[in-house]
Symmetry: C2
Subunit: 234 residues, 2 copies
DNA sequence: CGTACCGTTGAGCAGGCTCAACCGCTGTGG
DNA sequence: CCACAGCGGTTGAGCCTGCTCAACGGTACG
């Protein structure tokens, strides 16, 4: 667990150009420490609300460890989860000086907080760093579009399967275990399903021996062939 | 129709900070001509494929007039429309040197095309301009998240109504007429509905005297109160 | 003037939502 | 130490809405 000799936060994204296929960490050591110098490092326990929809947006955040969910509460009382964010993700970008989503921690989280005005000043002086943010935002945009594709699917099993696929990509765990740190309810709100449907879909995937449970918050893909077939079925 | 004495393309977005509520055009006259100097202006008729998913990504595009759709074709043959883009929108941002969506014109379109490497060079030298792109991308991200909220909704009438709301915001026509330049099929693919459902939803809105048709590609909101009530029903 | 596509409308079916009960784990207080 | 309450998760029964298949009307374009 000698993971970060490096100082400061990082950004994870897939670059524009050819050559590099995977998602990588973008910032140089110098840029990381540069951001660290204008940010304060914060630890938050699980279930902490980091920023609230509609509140005045003072800060931008970069996650270095843990998982958070970004959501919006609708007039009807229903909650729409717009995304899950992990290490090296950024959030808190605002419109008109107000956050437009609420962000809440799911696991204990370590994050860097910086004032939006300070960050803007820094970016105005460093085009290279700003370009890194462009890259990161483009990556976020891709994720949002992918999310669109997922929830446009009609069948619950397909949506859940695609979600597991995303989690797998994201986790990058060496073994084949996929962590599902969030509750069924969060997953349901993310996928636009009822939590019962999520539960049933997972149950069906297990009964068909496509996945296997590893506790309630972890699964393993047992039959990759059929898993991929479901992914491609859309 | 003396609309653009200004030279070169622009970017439309809502800024971060407080003070300005609406979507505005970001670039200064200098920045517009700067981009114009590294770009070539192109006119394309309706139904032109501007860039194709998977193709090598040489260029980035900024629209100055017209409407395009961005979509992805799925293994099953179904098509998912990820968004409609209008004047002052940007597209062509790639991953790993390849476009990840196809973009096709709906109306005749005027756009600026620039090589991605040239644009990157320009951005690396101008932090201010790059920051404008950050702002624009954040705006696009917001739109994508809003799209997520829309299609997560289960009822067809609600989805169509929210779509009309977005079109209205977008059009900013002085009168209350809302243009629907795209086909029902495109709308359906955008909303994750069958085209029959879109047709039925519009029909129901008209029968209930909430909207009124103005030809097949334009409507007018007749009963704003009930329209807003449907919007808030989610 | 004809044809093909877009749009509308109808009938029947399927999959997901709602309501509801039940299970297992966790944490708390008697 | 145990009883109980609360929450997250699973499972079942019935309903409802949007999808599918199909036919038809209108308009734009060759």
């Amino acid at each position: 667990m000698v993971e970060s000799v490096e100082a400061g936060p990082s950004l994870r994204a897939a670059p524009f150009g050819p050559g590099i296929k995977e998602v990588i960490r973008l910032l140089s050591a110098r840029q990381r420490s540069q951001i660290a110098s204008i940010a304060t490092c914060v630890n938050a326990p699980a279930r902490t609300v980091v920023c609230r929809e509609g509140a005045s947006a003072q800060s931008v955040f970069i996650i270095t460890a843990g998982v958070v969910k970004m959501f919006r509460d609708l007039p009807s009382g229903k909650r729409r989860v717009l995304g899950f964010l992990f290490a090296d993700d950024v959030f808190g970008l605002a419109q008109n000086g107000h956050y437009d989503n609420t962000v809440q921690t799911i696991t204990p989280v370590t994050l860097y907080r910086m004032r939006v005005s300070t960050l803007a000043d820094t970016l105005r002086r460093d085009a290279d760093l700003t370009l890194q943010f462009v890259c990161k935002l483009t990556h976020e945009l891709r994720r949002a579009l992918r999310h669109n594709v997922i929830i446009a699917r009609r069948d619950a099993v397909g949506r859940v399967t695609m979600f597991l696929g995303v989690l797998e990509q994201n986790g990058l765990l060496d073994d084949s275990r996929i962590e599902i740190p969030m509750s069924r309810s969060d997953v349901a709100n993310y996928l636009g399903l009822s939590l019962e449907s999520v539960s049933r879909a997972l149950g069906r995937l297990e009964r068909n021996r496509i996945i296997a449970y590893e506790g309630r918050h972890g699964i393993r893909i047992v039959d990759r062939t059929r898993f991929d077939k479901i992914l491609a079925a859309l």
